[in-house]
């Protein structure tokens, strides 16, 4: 069951990537610079309206065509980080817009720089507001790691397919595979709900 380990490994790396893309993108999306807003909007709208599977093909096969050989894990993780990150941008943008304007005014009255206002006042509150939707997005990332089986045998779905090709008994194995994902999703959603409860202490 090495595959299960890789599935979790890709998911954890992916979560870090998605949060970085989401936070940077959402900051650009709500910034004063028109150029940053246009770039972030174009990125978010294009990635979230196109299938992650095609992006996985793109990062793996298409880049190979121009001499860039990415290992399947890297190509798959990148594609999912961009797709899931694009969705995170929209989620965090809504969260940032939901933070009361008085918060920013108060922060700037206290002499905080725009960066300080964002990182220590706006983002923590936006993060709390966005957490339920963000959590669903990260769970969807976990499930979408199964798409990487299309370009190689690394994570658990790819390995299951290989075993099925040899043993030709698929029904039980797919049920086991389904159970693996269900357990992982259950653990993840429990953790997210726990985080929501913890953070709710600070909120209104």
């Amino acid at each position: 069951m090495w595959g299960g380990f890789w599935t979790l490994e890709i998911t954890l790396t992916g979560i870090v990537g998605v949060l970085i893309v989401g936070i940077v993108g959402a900051a650009m999306r709500t910034s004063k610079s028109a150029l940053a807003r246009v770039l972030a909007t174009a990125f978010a709208e294009f990635f979230r309206n196109t299938p992650p599977l095609v992006w996985i093909y793109f990062f793996f096969f298409a880049l190979l065509g121009i001499g860039i050989k990415l290992p399947a894990v890297v190509a798959g993780t990148l594609a999912l980080v961009f797709y899931q990150g694009a969705i995170a941008i929209e989620i965090l943008r809504a969260g940032i817009e939901a933070v009361a304007p008085g918060q920013v005014e108060a922060a700037s009255a206290l002499g905080l720089s725009p960066l300080q206002q964002f990182t220590s006042i706006v983002l923590p509150q936006a993060f709390r507001i966005s957490l339920p939707a963000l959590g669903n997005n990260l769970i969807s990332l976990l499930k979408n790691t199964s798409l990487i089986s299309a370009i190689g045998t690394i994570e658990i779905t790819g390995i299951a397919n290989d075993i099925i090709a040899i043993k030709l008994s698929s029904a039980e194995l797919y049920l086991t595979l389904g159970a693996f994902y269900l357990i992982c999703v259950f653990i993840m959603s429990s953790l997210i709900r726990y985080a929501e409860r913890r953070l709710a202490r600070y909120g209104s």
Binding site: E45, N49, T50, P51, L147, T157, A171, Y174
Partner: protein, 214 residues
């Protein structure tokens, strides 16, 4: 490359696009129908029924759609149910969509104030009449934006059908580039644009509607 690209993109548009649309539209219709039935049944507050529907929804939303599709196409024949590629894809996408649709419909019905149902009952309408003539017509407006988002997700997810051999736009690209790897970039960019032009207007309209309802 140009002649090859043109021949390939023609095949994508003439043969692949109708398949992608057929799978997506059939699946979203199942999702809407199944979602309305399951969502309405949830409002009966029958314990056994609720437990069954919750189990169905959590199960189908807790496993990757790809695993479900593999199960329908490769696993079910072992249990005596054989479906061809396209029906398998539609079944898997439809079942998955119905689970998401059930939550959409339940949420929309819950958002209608309880006074509406009480007023309907006070007028002597049966439960069924209240649901069909009072609750659902009001709830439909709130269902439209999330169902539009579900349509976008369904169109995106229809690409997974390529992995069980459905000749949708993704699979046609993959078959075409086997002879000519130089076509990967232009063809993949082309189908990304096709998906984008189908999905973008729907997702923008969904956001606009949602804002107006809020």
């Amino acid at each position: 490359m140009n002649a090859n690209y043109l021949a390939a993109i023609r095949e994508v548009l003439v043969q692949g696009l109708p398949v992608t649309l057929e799978v997506s539209i059939a699946a979203i219709l199942i999702a809407i129908g199944g979602g309305v039935v399951l969502g309405v049944l949830r409002t009966l507050h029958n314990r056994a029924l609720d437990a069954l529907i919750i189990a169905y929804v959590e199960l189908l939303r807790g496993i990757p759609l790809l695993v479900l599709m593999f199960f329908v196409f490769f696993g079910l024949p072992q249990l005596g149910f054989h479906f061809a590629e396209v029906p398998s894809a539609i079944i898997a996408l439809g079942l998955w969509g119905a689970a998401n649709g059930a939550e959409i419909v339940r949420g929309a019905i819950l958002s209608i104030s309880a006074g509406q149902a009480q007023a309907g009952a006070a007028l002597g309408l049966s439960w069924f009449q209240v649901m069909v003539t009072v609750i659902l017509p009001q709830a439909v407006r709130r269902m439209i934006p999330p169902f539009m988002s579900l349509f976008v997700a369904t169109v995106e997810s229809s690409s997974l059908a390529a992995l069980i051999g459905v000749k949708d736009i993704v699979e046609i690209v993959r078959l075409r580039v086997e002879n000519d790897p130089a076509l990967w970039i232009p063809l993949l960019l082309s189908i990304l644009l096709i998906y984008f032009f189908i999905n973008y207007p729907v997702s923008i309209a969904s956001q606009k509607l949602e804002k107006r309802l809020a």
